[in-house]
Amino acid sequence: MQQRVCIVGVGLSDGPVTPELSGVMLEAQSFRRALDDAGLEKDDISGLASAGYGGMHEVALAEYLGLAPRWLESSSVGGSSFEFHALHAYRAIQNGDVDTVAIVYGNNQLSASGRTLGTGGGGGGGRGGMALPLPMAYEFPTGLTLVGAYAMAAQRHMYEYGTKPEQLASIAVQTREHAGRNPRAMYRDPITVADVMSSRLVADPLHKLDCCVISDGGCCVIMTTEERARSLPHRPVYVRGGAGGTTHHSIAAMPDMTRTAAAVSGPRAFAEAGITPTDVDVFAMYDSFTYTVLVVLEDLGFAPKGEGGAFITDNGGNLRLGGALPTNTDGGGLSCTHPGMRGLFLLCEATRQLRGEAGDSQVAGAEIAVAHGSGGWLSTQGTVVLGTEGA
């Protein structure tokens, strides 16, 4: 018989600026905090998942932490890697292949590399003597940047559906409002749509404030069987369903820049969970850029295709507390933390909400949360549906 699977521990490292901590130190710190949160010790961990920027990352991490896991997972599909990890751990625990899994990520990107990720050229391509992986070899000499790739997609959405830059800006404004309640957030002062619109254009139509922050930070999420979860300190948060997929790698190969693989992963995940979009109380969405939120929100069915802009601003702002879809209640990547990849932080915030531990940003009575990661150049999409026991 299949096991039900729960998230039983979450841990956040110090942050968002930690020049004294390396990436692996941030991983270790968040791992320790998640163990403490779960009431577990390291020898309880039989599976480890992680993704970094080099090969065998999770193996090196296992050694560093003194773990000898018999189940390893290292899907490396960009920022959404951790939704894929959670999904694969969910299946493996369901089927009895592994009992208790830690998903870990940490990066000191801000302190190590500065704020160049999005405009350092090449959409992630290499420099110097490095051979560029196809198809980046063609894009890099054009001067396209990572931000520019997302900007082209946003521009196409504006062209097809009349989406306004002010509607994108509203996403940043509403997210900042959440960040204002989070002492851990990188930027907390309220901003207006006018502030976003008057911030520097980085790549039309995206302004500086349409782009996520670059920070340091680590996160860990621990998953186990329902049976074990019942003996642990926190109210278990149940994995209810999930799915992932990809449509392209480079932005040039994105078949339709107004539609992502979330249009497939979302309905599959929701069907497995037995929910519809209106059942979702909290949305933890990978907000690499404001446009990422808009396009995926439509793809998941929270608004019809092309009507995401209106949905975002309706009702005084549907992403706010009290709105139809409170989104990124920790302040998101746009205002709180984004250390290279953010996918794991989404699962953490969704769990805190379903436990009722989100403090001033708590969505009253939250029972269903969706954590959705988007990686690469809108390339990889992973949807995970979480719920309380009774949901």
Binding site: P135, L144, I251
Partner: protein, 146 residues
């Protein structure tokens, strides 16, 4: 014709030079002789850029190089206003576009160095323009068709 007020993209730093492989040499050398070379699939009749072993549309191994008309339509674009990498930091602002070639199935990302950013539009007709990269090779840019 090039306007003297427009940025000079002719200087190609060593690290931006194409490094042709067995698979894609035809593209880079074609651009060096002012031809836009893409692959045509005799099974499904569609085209693709960049060069691959198999047709990305139908999966068959029935590809041959052809010279594209160089005509296309802008599917989307952006204006790059921040790029920290030389020499692009000296060229900003400039347009980068996603171009659907008239040859069905082929799409590519290209710079439009000669286009005033204020003139860029989705749906505008464009044609290939070639920029030398050393003696033998070239890059494919696009310019407004009219």
């Amino acid at each position: 014709m090039p306007d003297s007020a427009m940025p000079d993209w002719s200087d190609v730093p060593k690290w931006l030079m194409p490094r042709p492989t067995h698979e894609d040499r035809e593209f880079w050398e074609g651009a060096g002789r002012n031809e836009l070379r893409i692959q045509h699939c005799s099974s499904c009749g569609r085209h693709q850029h960049y060069a691959r072993m198999l047709c990305s549309h139908c999966g068959k191994q029935t590809l041959a190089w052809v010279t594209a008309s160089g005509e296309g339509t802008v599917y989307s674009f952006t204006v790059i206003r921040q790029n920290g990498v030389p020499p692009f930091n000296e060229r900003i602002p400039f347009v980068v576009a996603t171009v659907d070639l008239d040859e069905d199935g082929a799409r590519l990302i290209a710079a439009m160095p000669m286009l005033d950013p204020a003139e860029a539009r989705i749906g505008m007709r464009v044609r290939a323009a070639f920029r030398r990269a050393g003696d033998q090779l070239g890059f494919v840019d696009f310019v407004a068709a009219e």
